[in-house]
Structure formats: C-alpha cells, structure tokens
C-alpha cells in the first residue's frame, strides 16, 4: 500500500469523543494517503469527520474528551500518533502546516502581521531580525499581497478577508513544509476571492512542490483543485478515486446523491434533488452501512453488514457491495 511516493498515510484511524453517558465516534476507521506533490480533497458534509481527521494528524485532538481509539498515521515513515508532544511540536508548522477556515479569528488581533509571520519562522529557525524581515516580505510577496513592505506593520483588522487568508497561507508556508492541511480555507470568503485563493494554493503547490490536503464540502472547489478525492460520510471514507472518476463515474449512492443535488444549467426549472433524511448522530450510528437509511439502493444486508471497499477500476474504490455486484452482474 505505502510506496515510496507516499508522503502521509492514515490507516484505519479511529477518533472517539466520550462524554459521561455516550461515545461519539467522529472518525470510525478512516484510511487515506497523500502522495508527494499531490492535492487531495476530503469531501463530506458537516460532522462527517473531515476536520477531526485533519486535527488528529497534527495531534490537536483535545484528550480528554477525545480519544484516539486506533489506527496509525505514517508521515515519512514515522507514526505520528506515537510521538511525544515535544517531537510533535517540531513537526507542526515545520513539516506539516495548517490553514484554518476563519481568517479573521485565526490571526491574533494584537500583533502586526510581521510579528505573526515572523513568529511562524522564529519558532523553528533561529535567524536574525533583518533576515526575518526579508523573509516576511518574501512570503507576503509569494502569497500575492500587494505592496508587502507597507503591509508589514498592519494589524489583522486592517486587512480584507482575502488578504487575511493570504497571510495565513504565508504563515503556513513559513518553514517550507512538506504538507499543507487546508481546512475549508475559502468557506468564509466570497466567490471571486475564493477563486483567487484556490489559484494561489495551486500555484504555490506547483512551485514549491508540496502536497496539499484540502478539506471542503464544496464540490465546485474539489473539481477545481483536486488530483484525488476521498468522499467521507459519518466517519468513514465511502468512495475514493481521482477527480474525473468521482465526478463522471460516481459509484457510491452517497456520492451520486451529492452530485445530483448540485444546481446546474441542465437542471434549470426543475426541482433540485436532495438526499432524504439527515446525517446520523455520531453517538448513535445505524448498524451496517451508515448510509443505508437514506440510500435508494439499500437492501436488507445493508443494515446488518459493514460494507467493504470494492475496487471498481484502477484506484477507484467505493464502499457499496450492492451496486458493485449489480454492476458486475449486468456485465
């Protein structure tokens, strides 16, 4: 499974949150991998475990109430779950960096952006003040902030949303990490700025030959940026494949439902499709396939057996044996 090209591979990760009387299985056996110089998208609706998966890569799940119930996260051959806090701090920001959803609240309001970008460099490298300033200017230029020298002394509230997100990206880039985890970085931005930020992430990923793990619920963004896609539902990966396979040849009923509920020109005037029902409560998941109560193809075995990953074609996997059998049966 793990070849030389793999940068990080998450294997059967389980993250549970316990309260006094129930246990929410937020991530329940997720496996995915990110290869070198690749953009991978984790897609899924709110509460399906995307963010929790990403945070557990960086070891930022609050324990307790959180609990890593199983699995491994191999990053360059090391299991991140077994590292102690000190080693983890050397990896955070230095090898793996993260960009958050809300650029307004992710920047410290009392420091100038020079201080904050400089801090990102200073935590891991020991460099002088003049060099640090040059480094900040270069980073700001890289993320496309106009007139970076004048902007250095600005406070976060003096910047627009898009600029703030660019500063966040600059902070993430500060130590030239191998992997950037972007947790819905464009959700709080309007559509034109969103396009610019995506463009920026793409060009940075290319020029710096980094990997990007992009977490989103926006299929439009996925189509724009991803090389490969993992679709998550209720704490498990339901379908994985490259972008074309997911968009043109979706195999899992959940992915099909998601795509059907996108508005488009061809559906003009018609009523938009929506998947019936709601996401199961992570503390009380249904037996068997978590999607079966909402699935149009469900049969009686779906409510009993946990579905296995079925290999449709090269690297295109979906967790739905029912459709797999019927598809192969027709052949």
């Amino acid at each position: 499974m793990a070849n030389n090209n793999t940068l990080i591979s998450v294997q059967d990760l389980k993250v549970y949150f316990r309260s006094s009387h129930e246990c929410a299985r937020a991530v329940d056996g997720v496996s995915f991998e990110v290869r070198k110089e690749e953009t991978v998208c984790l897609v899924g609706e709110s509460g399906c475990g995307k963010t929790v998966s990403a945070l557990s890569i960086l070891g930022l799940i609050p324990i307790p109430p959180g609990e890593i119930a199983g699995g491994r996260i191999l990053f360059q051959g090391k299991n991140l779950l077994e590292l102690d806090e000190e080693d983890m701090q050397k990896i955070r920001g230095n090898r793996i960096a993260m960009v958050f959803q809300e650029p307004l609240t992710s920047l410290n309001p009392v420091f100038t952006i020079e201080d904050q970008i400089g801090e990102a460099v200073r935590i891991h490298k020991n460099i002088g003040a003049g060099e640090l300033r040059d480094c900040c200017i270069k980073l700001l230029k890289d993320v496309g902030i106009p007139s970076p020298v004048q902007r250095l002394k600005d406070y976060p509230h003096q910047l627009s949303g898009g600029q703030r997100q660019r500063v966040m990206i600059a902070m993430a880039l500060a130590c030239d990490p191998d992997l950037i985890i972007a947790d819905e970085p464009t959700t709080a931005l309007d559509v034109t700025v969103q396009a610019q930020i995506l463009q920026l992430l793409k060009s940075i990923q290319k020029t710096r030959s980094m990997s990007v793990l992009y977490i989103t619920h926006d299929l439009g963004v996925v189509a724009n940026i991803a090389d490969r896609v993992y679709v998550m539902y209720s704490g498990i990966v339901t379908e994985q494949g490259n972008t074309a396979q997911i968009f043109y040849d979706a195999r899992h009923p959940y992915t099909q439902g998601l795509l059907a509920s996108l508005p488009s020109r061809s559906k003009r005037g018609k009523r938009l499709y929506s998947i019936p029902g709601t996401v199961p409560n992570p503390a009380y998941k249904p037996e068997g396939c978590p999607f079966h109560p909402r699935c149009p193809h469900a049969i009686s075995t779906c409510s009993r057996e946990h579905p296995e990953m079925c290999d449709y074609s090269k690297a295109h996997l979906a967790r739905c044996p029912v459709l797999f059998e019927s598809a192969n049966g027709y052949k």
């Binding site: 955070r92 420091f111 801090e119 004048q150």
Partner: protein, 390 residues
C-alpha cells in the same frame, strides 16, 4: 475564467496610503483625550510621580535639601507659610525655601520635607505591591485558565503535603521527623517513575489505583485557593502578618502584594477561558509553539487590558492600605516619614494644628482619587462596550 487565471497583479503599488496610519498608542490617545476626568487623573498622577522622584533626591543623602528628620523644638507646630524665627535657629536648621510651606509638626520638623519623603514611600508601595500582585495573578490565572481541565492526581496531593509538612517540621526544629518526610518525597517520585514505565497495560493493585485517581482539576484548586484568600478580611490579615514580621517598608510591599492578587487571577482566568477556544490559539499551536509560548506570548497580550485597569485602581488601594497601616503604627518604622504616620502624629494636635492631619489626608485623597479616575478612563477606552457612559 479570465479573472481566475490572471489572479493578482504582483507589481501593484499603492500611489497613496489608503488611510492615515495611526499607531495603537495614537488611537488610544484620541479616545482617552475625550474623558476630561481621566485626563485630570493622569495629570495628577504624573505630578505625583515627579514629586515622589524629586522628593527622593531632595530628602535623602548626607546633606539633603529638605531634611525630614531635622528637629527644631523651638519651632514646633508652626502653621503653613510662616517664616521661621531666624534668631533661634542655627544656619543649617533654616528651611531651604525660607519659610515652612506646610508648617511644622510637634517636634518642629518640616512637614513639606516629610510629605516629600512620604510620597516616595507611597509611590513605591503602590507600584511594587501591585507589581507583585499582578505577576502572581497573571501566572495563577493563566495556569488556571489554560491548564484548567488537567487533573492533579491523589499521589501528587499527598507528595506536596508531605513536602510542605516536612519543610515546616524542619524549620520548627523537629529535624529528624521532618527529614524523614522530606526523604520520602523523592523516594516516592523515583518509585512512581519506575512503576510508570513498567506498568503500561498491566492491572494495578488497589492502593496504586487509588493513588492514580484524579483528585482535583487545576482550575478547581487555584480558584478555591482564590476563594479562601478572599474569605480573609484582607486588612486584618495584613495587620496580623505585619505584626509578626519585622517592621520594614519591603515587608509591607510584599505582604500587600501577596494579599491582593485574587482579583487579577479571576480576570485573567476569565479572559483565558474565552481566548483558549479562539482559532488563533489553535493556529499558533499548528505552527508548533509550546504551551508557555502560547500562554505568555500569544494569549497574555489579549488578556492584559482588564488587568491594566484593575492594576491602576489596585495602586490606589495599596497606597490607602499602606497609609492605614502606618496610621495604626504597624507600617514603616517611625523616623522615616509616610503620609500615614504624619497623619497619625498629627491627630493628637488636630484642634491646635489642623494642617498636620489635613495636609496628608488631602494628599492621600487626591492621589487615590486621581488613580481611580485614570483607571476608569483606561477601562472606558479599553472596553468598547463601556464607552460613552460618562
């Protein structure tokens, strides 16, 4: 599509700056200026500060300009602004202004010189005591707010208790018994390290399980200590402690500082509870910053505003407390003048020489009032919700 491909123009430079750039301090001053009473407070505060520092230089040294300890028995209880009787004084006894600005006391000492000396005492007591209390308060509040949900295990509590009681016994001359307790502590720590590595996954005996149980959370522990400290009537606590300790100005500063940190702790803890959940803390964590860097470099600057306000008002309280202690005779030892003991000395002559009580009394009133006004002004500026109330 075109927009997407073009992205941004890298070489774009602003022709003119977008808005007038003001530093934080300038912006702060613009708001602060509107509050006249606060400006008055700040003005008196600066005046007091200058007087105290000038007073230190003019009243100390081998040959001071104003000698607060110079006794002229023939010139006692002179009212303010009265010229001395030059015939009865030796040359070095003549006050340097040529008259007694604030009169003389029952030993003929120049009250103005004594007030100058007392101003320095008040200033240092105020600042040092509040400095101590703010440091303790920020540290305790920061720990309680940030590490609040961590638990302290039963064995930690027991070991701490052993350590404290061992030290107490040794200092109380039960040396042998105390030493046994003191030796037990490192022995237990060593033992727990040994078992910690060996017992992973193994089931522990019952007594070990009891020892490993979480006793209290850090938050509960610190906040209950705060509650206990607040239960004592603090002035009487200070009185008791000062009565036990040798009388000196430093002891008073330390004791006032050690009994007034609770408010700051509560402020800082409350701020930290909300700051801890903010995204920027998580963002700094993902950059790989350690806990203490996060607490003291990233969260603390966001939490100091209310502390600053309570510190300014705290200075006023500390000055008042010191004056009260000196008035009762528990404060700074006698030859040294403070506003409190000038007041105390003067109360015997309140009908014959009212200036002896009124001058220090009014000085205390004005300084405390100015600190309070300044503090309130600071609060109005730093807390936007309270703006426009005056």
């Amino acid at each position: 599509m075109n927009i997407e491909e073009k992205g941004f123009n890298e070489d774009f430079q602003f022709e003119t700056p977008l808005a007038p750039k003001r530093t934080r301090l300038q912006e702060f001053w613009l708001l602060f200026r509107q509050n006249r009473l606060a400006i008055l407070g700040l003005f008196i505060f600066i005046l007091f500060f200058c007087c105290a520092i000038a007073g230190l230089f003019m009243t100390s040294g081998p040959d001071p300009l104003f000698d607060p300890a110079m006794i002229r028995l023939q010139e006692k209880l002179r009212p303010p602004l009265v010229k001395p009787n030059l015939d009865s004084l030796r040359r070095e006894e003549i006050p340097c202004l040529g008259f007694y600005l604030m009169g003389t006391d029952d030993l003929g000492r120049d009250v103005f010189a004594r007030m100058l000396q007392g101003a320095w005492v008040s200033l240092t007591v105020g600042f040092v005591a509040v400095g101590i209390s703010v440091l303790i308060g920020i540290f305790m509040g920061g720990i309680a707010g940030y590490f609040g949900q961590h638990h302290i295990r039963v064995d930690h509590v027991i070991v701490t208790f052993l350590l404290i009681s061992g030290t107490a016994l040794v200092t109380a001359h039960f040396i042998r018994f105390g030493a046994v307790l003191l030796c037990l502590t490192p022995a237990y720590i060593f033992y727990s390290f040994l078992t910690q590595n060996r017992s992973k996954g193994k089931t522990l005996p019952l007594w070990a399980k009891v020892f490993r149980k979480n006793a209290v959370s850090v938050d509960t522990l610190i906040m209950r200590i705060v509650d206990i400290m607040l239960c004592f009537p603090s002035f009487f606590l200070i009185l008791t402690v000062v009565a036990l300790l040798p009388a000196s100005i430093y002891n008073i500063m330390i004791v006032i500082g050690l009994t007034s940190w609770m408010g700051t702790t509560r402020f800082v803890r409350a701020e930290f509870l909300s700051l801890r959940e903010q995204d920027f803390v998580a963002a700094v964590k993902t950059l790989g910053a350690g806990n203490f860097r996060i607490i003291f470099r990233h969260m603390m600057p966001n939490a100091v505003a209310p502390v600053l306000v309570s510190a300014t008002i705290g200075i006023a309280t500390a000055i008042l407390t010191e004056a009260g202690l000196s008035f009762l005779g528990f404060g700074v030892p006698p030859p040294h003048a403070t506003w409190g003991n000038i007041l105390s000395d003067g109360k015997n002559f309140i009908f014959d020489a009212p200036w002896l009580t009124f001058i220090p009394g009014i000085a205390i009133l004005i300084v405390v009032l100015s600190f309070n006004l300044f503090g309130e002004g600071l609060r109005d500026v730093l807390n936007p919700k309270l703006r426009g109330r005056h």
